[in-house]
Symmetry: C2
Subunit: 359 residues, 2 copies
DNA sequence: AAATTTAAATAAAACCTATTGACAAAGACT
DNA sequence: AGTCTTTGTCAATAGGTTTTATTTAAATTT
């Protein structure tokens, strides 16, 4: 036990305004120099056990926590990453953020979170500015690529930017990208349907301004061609990501090609909408129509029938992105070498359920 | 147009290591004092148009952004809020975060995001410590209340904490809380079923260690009693929040009370699982069994049949929480008056769809 | 044109909090 | 007395803000 002089309660009141305790306060209370406190806090140098305990008791009593701002200022490092993303109320983006947070936490980074209001451009530049003003050590750009919403890349002076990793965006020369291999995923889905003996396989795409939607579309086309199956535009409907696109989409497809026997839906929500339409029209799933989705949202296992879908390991995308960013930051610290571009693709896997296989 | 002396590219390279541009650099390049630059940046005092332009040109050229850390240090204010939450890959929590972010952005706060790995206790204290070390101006505690996961409240020295607002937790004396009125929501749902002429109304609850689950359970009980309906334990199944709890839950309910004519599911996922079981058992929804969920996840409109559910305006909870916190911060700045406790309840509304009404 | 007033800019120092290095001093131990 | 261990002093640093006192420049008045 260590005893300390009683501290009057008013210590943290100065001029009636809040005063967080500083190194000095601790030093004064413990009766040592600030240097000594600093040594205790940072666990460096030889310190007598008794002194250490006195200091620690003072820290306890005052609720002292070192001011990270001051530290960062000196060390030229904030241990902070900036995340820019969109749509965390959707399953995919939120999972990605979870992965990011987990890995960041493990590597002792704090996260600044910034959400865009719309995925297509908007206020990207001002968000990035804020992050840079906060001197984040690195940036995770996790906004889905829509239209030309990375136009800021051209106009910005990237030499004033910290390292950036792009998540789920199209690889480009000079950039570091971690993404799900949507193309492969779509191929898995389509190939599976072909393996089930289906031949007339329709697709409802996401909005084709989205890179991910285009990749999935291309994957479908690629497998179809390989299997020598036609891909007329009557088998294709462009939709939004949400469920009602699936409802309308299937209606339209059936109007154009009444005898399609399978559907590749570019999201689980679209698949859900299609299921709903199928029920209304009295089509048996999977007998009359096999359906495969994309995402593996938790609900999809309980759709009726349970949905076959492509599982994207978005948590991994987040984790890998942070690991990569961390390496870039460390490398930068050693030498101001330009980080090499790189592309990491995470392979999705197919989850087979009842919506695509007859019992 | 303003012209400036050419700057050699190597300015931001010092000893081969990265050098962010500072006020001084700008001042030197513009040929003015640092004070002048400061005035331009902060838009204060009288400054000749020509000078302002020179300075702005220098800022542009160097890509200067004021160091927020240094500013915060002086102003004793970081314009930063800490968010602690859990489960942003679920619909409810992520929506709440969206609301928080929107309002924070509008009030020019940046957000630190911290996710707990588990909602029941865990590392709360260390998360809070990190936030305080970062000198956040306020904290949003958006972790659902499970068991005694706010035990840290007793052991912490709250006088060293910045203002805190609690989201979707049980009101307690002395705390500021913004929450959805789960009790009312459950009453809406149950009353609606009674209005439809249902009398034997079962419930699948969330885990009753959760405050929100208990509130919904109590709401159901309250309305049942008011309508002079029995609430034997055979009408109650405690579940998890996810869909498979609904599958098993309905099975169990039907085993206990084969002639129930309605079900209040404490989450849309549970409702989805119940729908799935109903299909498998050949029960017609809503004819044989009316179902109401809770949450209004986007998919619920496309369930088969579309799900009647209770819509919680979680975005509003987030927004209001930030507004409240902002007021507390401002009030604190004026005078170190203890912030008064307060409770704001957000009323949910009932969305009626086909799962509870015969056509 | 000279004198006065007003405006714009500057230099220098203090401050915010913590870190760091060089060096000195005190105390403990042979 | 000499050595080792522990602690302290002091100043500089990180990147800004703010104050005071001063200087310079421009605008206005006589």
């Amino acid at each position: 036990m260590v005893t300390l002089p009683q501290q009057e309660k008013s210590l943290h009141k100065v001029n009636g305004s809040f005063h967080t305790t500083t190194l000095k306060d601790v030093a004064k209370l413990a009766g040592v120099s600030t240097k000594t406190v600093s040594r205790v806090v940072n666990n460096q140098g030889e310190i007598r056990k008794e002194t250490r305990e006195r200091v620690q008791a003072a820290i306890e009593q005052l609720g002292y926590r070192p001011n990270v701002l001051a530290r960062s200022l000196i060390h030229q490092r904030t241990n902070t990453l900036g995340v820019v993303t969109w749509g965390i109320d959707y399953f995919g983006p939120s999972r990605t953020v979870v992965g990011i947070e987990q890995q960041a936490h493990q590597l002792e980074y704090s996260l600044f979170l910034n959400l865009m209001d719309r995925p297509d451009d908007g206020d990207s530049v001002s968000l990035l500015d804020t992050l840079i003003a906060h001197r984040v050590d690195g940036i995770l750009w996790a906004v889905p690529e829509v239209g030309n919403n990375r136009a800021w890349l051209e106009s910005s002076q990237l030499e004033h930017f910290p390292p950036i990793v792009f998540l789920n965006t199209e690889p480009r020369p000079g950039l570091v990208v971690v993404a799900v291999d949507n193309f492969s995923g779509a191929k898995l889905a389509t190939q599976h349907l072909i393996n089930q003996g289906r031949r007339k396989i329709g697709i409802i795409t996401g909005p084709l301004t989205w890179w991910e939607a285009r990749e999935r579309y291309d994957g479908w086309k690629s497998v179809m061609h390989q299997a020598k199956l036609e891909t007329p535009s009557s088998l294709v409907v462009e939709g939004e990501w949400a469920a009602d696109a699936g409802e309308r989409g299937l209606q339209q497809l059936l109007a154009q090609e009444p005898d399609i026997d399978a559907l590749f839906a570019s999201s689980d929500q679209i698949a859900l909408g299609a299921l709903s339409t199928a029920h209304r029209l009295g089509r048996q799933i999977p007998r009359d129509l096999a359906i495969v989705g994309f995402d593996n949202i938790p609900e999809s296992a309980c759709f009726w029938p349970p949905l076959t879908t492509v599982y994207q390991q978005l948590i991994d995308v987040g984790r890998i992105a942070v690991q990569t960013l961390h390496r870039m930051i460390e490398a930068n610290r050693q030498s101001r070498v330009l980080n090499e571009a790189s592309v990491t693709l995470v392979r999705p896997e197919l989850i087979v359920r009842a919506s695509s296989m007859e019992a």
